[in-house]
């Protein structure tokens, strides 16, 4: 069962949240970030090339122009492959674990999976970010030796940064699955 809703992130940009409900114990949430805008790309390319042309008129060396083209291309490829995240998704499967995936604009995907035994809870935390107070969803992981201690806090949707209304939707669904998991503990 699929569902799509649009929300906004902390800077006011538009995000779209896709919810997939595979079964009562398995849900997936995908947040798609706004794509790379043509305007900003053109602006950056023009600036770099104007600067290169200025240097060329100063030094009369045509290598500067080809170097500028190389730098622009490599910079764009590097940006698309390492920096620009297109979509972030959270897959929660009861009794298996929670998986976070970030897909970059070049198609690269980076995935992290936490087993259910490690997950203590999923909460919404408040934080001071620059001059704002923002909310973010995070997964609390527990220490295998001391189950009452929290060993790590892993923030989710770090580059999409959705607002509280979107986070509440995700939080409610996650808590339903986690409650289901806590209600049926592991059989010995």
């Amino acid at each position: 069962m699929e569902d799509e809703q649009s929300f906004s992130d902390i800077c006011g940009g538009r995000l779209s949240l896709q919810r997939r409900y595979y079964s009562p114990t398995c849900r997936e949430f995908c947040i798609s970030c706004p794509r790379l805008s043509l305007r900003s790309l053109t602006a950056v390319t023009c600036t770099v090339w104007l600067a290169a042309y200025g240097l060329f008129t100063l030094f009369e060396n045509s290598m500067i122009l080809s170097a500028a083209i190389f730098i622009t291309l490599l910079g764009l490829l590097g940006y698309l492959h390492f920096v620009k995240i297109d979509q972030e998704s959270l897959l929660i499967i009861d009794s298996l674990g929670i998986q976070m995936t970030s897909s970059y604009a070049s198609g690269k995907e980076s995935t992290t999976f936490f087993e259910m035994g490690q997950v203590k809870d999923v909460v919404i935390n408040e934080a001071i970010y620059m001059q704002k107070v923002i909310y973010y969803l995070c997964i609390l992981l527990k220490d295998p030796v001391e189950p009452h201690r929290i060993s790590q806090v892993v923030p989710v949707f770090q580059s999409a940064k959705p607002r509280l209304d979107c986070l509440i939707e995700v939080y409610r669904s996650c808590q339903e699955v986690l409650a289901h998991q806590k209600a049926t503990p592991a059989s010995a």
Binding site: R20, S95, T112
Partner: protein, 581 residues
């Protein structure tokens, strides 16, 4: 808890039969390892499972039945399969069924005795997780860095359900040895059932490695015995060996080769990776060294180098002479104390003159020496770079001497100044109490002390300037040597085999797993595909870094500045194991 059935993708097209694998009760998961096909005799199946259990210490059992319906309405097969539940008892009993041409499966897991209601059978919900058996067998899980205050054994136990799956598949290798061409009593389906994979080259290499390792390790022990012989322990030689970085590098390489060619088998995969990394690193080193050697000998570059060496040394000496003349005049407009300036300047000039004469004396032999030294590049590029660093150190020995003279003079002056400054204020350093105490001096003591203090203070700028100039030169040489050492360190410690493995066979080095939800239909069990999440390159380098020579700077920036200010000698590139000064 939902029951997780880990099913190998290779068995998804197999004929109907029995599911054989391991049940992990803590995770409520069933790891299916193989499918036993009809016809079979139950006694023989049980015997095979007992054999596998003994060989691999994995609790393999019959977990349930697998039904792959090729035609419509095979009800007789269903009844037959249900009857098998009575022969092979397992709690819970798994029944997987697949229709021909359909992607969706039906799964049932029944328990004879449900919780709280003895005697009444109950069904569990089943989740199917497909996994690639070959990749899971060959991969090695790298859990995130364990905390230092915990023993390593705990980490493995607490790692969770997925580590158990990997462990089960890895240890059940003995089950996968039979393929469909074997004439055994039982017909199995698993990833190697189409034919066991093997490579002739790998088998030959394994057979040959035994005697080759024996031969090479005996040769290496001979070499290391020769290097520790009594002749080489006569006094000036150990001092020289410790100062030359080439000897350190050669010793390091010898140790590494001894590790690689030792006749002991590697106990765990980490040791095997280390051996492989060392071998590839040594081979690359030797290859680069041979390339350098061929480049040097082409067009007689060694001769050109030798011819250029003496004029370069002359040029450096000339520049130093100009520098000293400049210092003896009015450097940067500062006014020096004429007499001290002349003394120091003439002293250093004479030293320089001696050095130049020495270089000119050596010049006929330089080409021969360089040629023989160039041959050592066949031992590896790192050895050649270490020799280069040592040659630079030898050629700039006069700069080192000047630095030591300047530093000692400056240090003496600073010590004298600080002690006389205390006298000037009426205090004294109490050696017993290790602190500054007040002291009443006699008049003549005060008079002489103040006089000496004034003299030292006004001579300070001259000495300080010489010290500054020579320290800067020395730091320049040290920086160049440091760069070469960093390069040598890089070649020594980079784990090339692991990086190559990560590039070509990413499933071998696993950081974890990732799941993908396959097509789902309401009412059918959830199907997931488990894939291996490879280790990022940074973690590969961090985990498999080879130990390097240990030439790290022992000072922090703060202590370095402090030592420079007080005129203490700095030795930035100490070898590991040297006594601290």
């Amino acid at each position: 808890m939902v029951l997780k059935a880990f099913f190998p993708t290779c068995c998804a097209a197999a004929d109907s039969g029995l599911l054989v694998g391991r049940w992990v009760p803590e995770q409520s998961s069933a790891v299916v390892l193989a499918v036993v096909h009809f016809p079979f005799i139950p006694v023989q199946v049980k015997a095979l499972l007992a054999q596998v259990h003994q060989a691999s210490q994995v609790g393999v059992a019959v977990l349930g039945t697998w039904c792959h319906r090729r035609q419509e309405a095979e009800e007789s097969l269903d009844h037959f399969l249900e009857g098998l539940g009575a022969i092979f008892f397992h709690e819970p009993w798994l029944q997987l069924c697949r229709e021909r041409g359909s992607k969706f499966w039906s799964c049932k897991a029944t328990r004879r005795q449900g919780p709280g209601r003895p005697g009444a059978p109950c069904e569990d919900q089943v989740m199917l997780v497909f996994y690639d058996q070959r990749k899971v067998l060959l991969s090695q899980l790298h859990p995130p860095a364990a905390l230092p205050d915990r023993p390593a054994g705990d980490a493995a136990a607490g790692a969770g359900g997925l580590a158990a799956v990997f462990d089960t598949v890895a240890r059940s290798e003995v089950l996968f040895r039979s393929d469909r061409f074997d004439e055994g009593p039982v017909r199995l389906s698993h990833w190697q059932s189409e034919g066991v994979e093997a490579s002739i080259l790998a088998e030959l290499a394994k057979r040959a490695s035994g005697p080759v390792c024996l031969l090479l390790s005996s040769l290496l022990s001979l070499v290391s015995a020769a290097s520790t012989c009594r002749l080489l322990r006569l006094w000036p030689l150990p001092f020289l060996w410790s100062k030359l970085s080439t000897c350190g590098q050669l010793r390091h390489r010898l140790e590494q080769l001894a590790l690689v060619f030792s006749t002991q088998k590697a106990e765990n995969p980490t040791q095997l990776m280390r051996k492989a990394n060392v071998l590839i690193s040594v081979l690359l080193d030797v290859a680069l060294g041979l390339a350098l050697l061929s480049w040097l000998h082409r067009k007689d570059r060694i001769g050109q180098l030798a011819e250029a060496l003496v004029p370069v040394a002359d040029r450096v000496a000339e520049e130093l002479q100009h520098l000293l003349q400049w210092l003896m005049g009015a450097p940067a407009g500062l006014k020096m104390n004429r007499a001290l300036d002349q003394v120091l300047g003439r002293f250093f000039l004479y030293h320089l003159h001696l050095w130049i004469s020495y270089i000119h004396l050596m010049s006929p032999f330089i080409e021969r020496i360089l040629w023989h030294v160039g041959l050592s590049a066949c031992l590896g590029l790192t050895v050649a770079l270490s020799i280069l660093s040592d040659i630079i150190a030898l050629l700039t020995f006069h700069i080192y001497c000047f630095y030591v003279y300047g530093a000692r003079l400056y240090c003496l002056k600073i010590c004298g100044l600080s002690s006389l400054w205390r006298l000037f204020r009426g205090k004294k350093w109490n050696v017993l109490r290790q602190r500054v105490d007040s002291c009443s001096y006699d008049l003549d003591q005060l008079f002489i002390g103040t006089l000496l203090f004034t003299i030292l203070l006004f001579l300070l700028p001259t000495t300080a300037l010489y010290y500054l100039v020579f320290t800067l030169l020395r730091l320049l040489v040290v920086a160049v040597q440091g760069l070469i050492h960093v390069l040598v360190d890089l070649i020594n410690s980079l784990p090339l085999y692991s990086l190559g493995l990560r590039l070509c066979r990413p499933y071998r080095l696993a950081a974890g797993v990732k799941f993908r939800v396959l097509e789902h239909e309401a009412g059918r069990p959830l199907r997931l595909l488990m894939q291996i999440n490879p280790l990022p390159y940074g973690r590969v380098v961090h985990a498999y870094r080879l130990p390097s020579c240990g030439c790290h700077p022992t000072h922090s920036w703060g202590s370095l500045c402090r030592k420079l200010f007080f005129g203490e000698l700095i030795y930035p590139w100490r070898q590991r194991g040297d006594k601290q000064d």
